[in-house]
């Protein structure tokens, strides 16, 4: 099972420019999470902070009881072996062919013989569908192949946490669909914790267990996918529907009066459901589409049952629309247990809804994966 990543109160600035502040979220072990956000809200900076390439000024990132923000350089290199990261362009080493690129981590970190390295590399290359391309140089192949090769390299050390920086950028919709299926299949096979940073709404609607949205230097919301997909928060609605009307402007922010006028005009036209299809997989309405499942023949995702239990535990914390959507996704036995109150409320457990905490005191803070909306309670 993958490991959890607990981020709390994280803030990052470059010079006097604040990128985001007070980001708190928990990536539950083995689940797939997607982080959305308009361009320039520091999503890539967040990913780089997670692997310790950038040092945030405040807050903590706890993995296996080690705080990445304050730990030593030496420890950091150890922790990083838990990570696999897929960079935007694959970040392959330009001077090596694909085989050597993918074999690189194995040759550096393990004492495996060349024949063992060869069998592992070929297995991972087959996993991402790159058989026969071993001898190619990164400059000779397409962007999609580079991404898949980058993914194979990220997988080769059997990581516990895999981070994807915009896996869909520069790919056509069919390849994105294949890549999304590959991500779900991988999750079923290796049960690692996944975090995907993307702009693609289609991916965000169908792939993840959890969704988050960064906007205006804050994490607007992070929680189970149903929570964001059914949310009435204007920023979330605007982003998921891919429309111009709403608080997100071309250059960061808009003034309030203009937003109100736009929203009124939108309502007059019949709201989102009459808004047609938006770019990048965005579409009108707020339906929660079914999640992608692993290809037939692969094992079931172990995270699925874990997540269902976790979500059933926190069911009481959501508003009605979200609860309804979640209920539709839960199996009978968990629903009856949730309704009969067999699940203790897990308040104060620091958002760790995936494991019952025996000593969780109900008087603790109402720490959940839900963040306060901007401008007080919405």
């Amino acid at each position: 099972m993958g490991v959890a990543v607990e981020v709390s109160g994280l803030s990052k600035s470059f010079g006097s420019q604040n990128i985001w502040s007070d980001v708190t979220l928990t990536l539950p072990p083995g689940e797939i999470s997607v982080l959305l956000g308009p361009s320039g809200t520091g999503k890539s900076v967040f990913l780089k902070s997670l692997v310790g390439l950038l040092k945030p000024e405040k807050g903590s990132i706890v993995i296996n009881d080690v705080d990445l923000v304050t730990t030593s350089e030496h420890k950091l290199y150890e922790i990083r072996k838990l990570f696999g990261v897929l960079f935007q362009d694959g970040a392959l080493f330009g001077s090596m062919n694909l085989f050597d690129n993918i074999a690189f981590p194995l040759r550096e970190h393990t004492k495996k013989t060349e024949s063992e390295v060869r069998s592992i590399v070929l297995e991972k290359m087959e996993m991402v569908g790159l058989q026969g391309a071993e001898g190619k140089l990164p400059g000779e192949i397409s962007g999609g192949m580079r991404k898949r090769a980058g993914l194979a390299r990220a997988l080769v050390l059997d990581p516990e946490i895999i981070l994807f920086d915009e896996p869909d950028s520069g790919l056509d919709p069919v390849r994105v669909a294949y890549l999304n299926q590959l991500i779900v299949d991988l999750n079923a096979q290796i049960d690692a914790t996944f975090l995907i940073v993307t702009h693609d709404i289609g991916t965000a609607r169908t792939v993840p267990d959890n969704l988050g949205l960064l906007f205006r230097r804050n994490l607007v919301m992070f929680g189970p996918r149903e929570q964001l997909l059914t949310s009435q928060e204007p920023v979330v609605r605007q982003f998921l529907n891919g429309r111009r009307e709403g608080p997100i402007g071309m250059s960061e922010e808009k003034d309030v009066a203009q937003v109100e006028a736009e929203m009124a005009a939108l309502e007059a036209r019949g709201g989102d459901s009459h808004n047609g299809v938006g770019p990048k997989g965005a579409s009108g309405g707020d339906a929660v589409p079914p999640q992608l499942t692993p290809t037939e023949g692969l094992p079931e995702r172990k995270a699925e049952r874990r997540r269902q239990e976790r979500v059933a535990r926190m069911l009481h914390e959501f508003d009605e629309g979200t609860q309804e959507a979640i209920r539709a996704s839960l199996p009978e036995d968990l629903l009856t247990r949730a309704d009969s109150g067999a699940f203790e409320p897990t308040r104060g457990a620091g958002g760790r809804h995936w494991a019952p905490e025996p000593d969780a005191s109900p008087s603790g803070s109402t720490a959940t994966a839900v963040l306060p909306r901007q401008g007080g309670e919405g």
Binding site: K48, V51, V85, G94
Partner: protein, 271 residues
């Protein structure tokens, strides 16, 4: 959240004109050099990378160095040839020419080529990797770029600098001989016989020591600038440019210091 935590708009100057900025930059360079020294003894030593880099740096520097060394030796021979004739000290032409080549010309030529050809190639290579996220990817894979990439490059540029210095000495002296004897009508026997009249072996060693230090500085500065390149392809170009300029400035300053020390420490011949 207190008032000071409020997100601030980007400042106009953002510390660009801060009086301590040059200090901070030199401090960073020095800290980087210390990191490189600390990573030196770490196992496993990257032998393959070291050999590849040595070959690479040598291949970009050998030919230009030899081509620069010939006219350099010739200039010295021409200058000395007419000067010694005016002074009536023709018998010392060979000696003075060797002295000039060994002590100053060859370390300077080595410095120019190591910084201009070797250092710029190293800086461009690392800078291109940096902006393509390769360096980040390497760190994420748990591999220190300083140990994996910088240490072999710095060692390679040191080794090549030492070897180049030897090459320049030989080519420079040979060039001087050719110009003095063939073109200026000097006596071959006198030229060769006076070789050891003023020059001594320590001159050669001091030249080699200079070259070693020049190689170190060129390697460290080029790697530092390359690894800190940013802002896309233009950033790499800027980094290469700065790396060459900074290396030149440092090398000439260090050359002066070492020469001054040398005259204090090693007595000239005949005293």
């Amino acid at each position: 959240m207190t008032a000071t935590d409020e997100p601030k708009a980007p400042g106009l100057l953002d510390g660009k004109f801060s009086p301590t900025r040059p200090l901070a930059v030199s401090g960073n360079l020095f800290a980087f050099a210390l990191d490189v020294v600390r990573a030196l003894p770490k196992r496993p030593f990257q032998l393959r990378e070291f050999i590849q880099q040595t070959w690479f740096v040598a291949s970009v520097t050998i030919l230009p160095t030899a081509l620069v060394a010939i006219p350099f030796g010739a200039i010295i021979a021409l200058q000395l040839g007419s000067l010694t004739r005016q002074l009536g000290a023709q018998s010392f032409t060979g000696s003075a020419s060797v002295l000039a080549v060994l002590r100053e010309a060859s370390p300077i030529v080595t410095a120019l080529l190591i910084a201009g050809a070797g250092g710029s190639a190293i800086c461009a290579d690392l800078g291109a990797r940096k902006i393509r996220d390769e360096i980040d990817a390497m760190e994420v894979l748990g591999i220190s770029p300083i140990q994996r990439l910088v240490v072999p490059r710095v060692l390679a540029s040191m080794l090549v600098a030492v070897l180049l210095n030897g090459l320049v000495s030989v080519v420079g002296v040979a060039g001087g001989y050719f110009f003095n004897v063939v073109l200026q009508g000097g006596t071959p026997g006198a030229y060769l016989a006076s070789f050891s009249a003023l020059a001594q072996v320590e001159d050669f060693w001091s030249g080699e020591l200079k070259a070693l230090i020049f190689g170190l500085i060129a390697g460290v500065v080029a790697s530092y600038k390359g690894l800190n390149a940013g802002g896309g392809p233009k950033g790499v170009g800027d980094a290469v440019n700065q790396s060459v300029v900074i290396t030149f400035l440092l090398l000439f300053a260090v050359n002066f210091v070492i020469t001054a020390l040398y005259f204090q420490l090693v007595p000239p011949k005949g005293q």
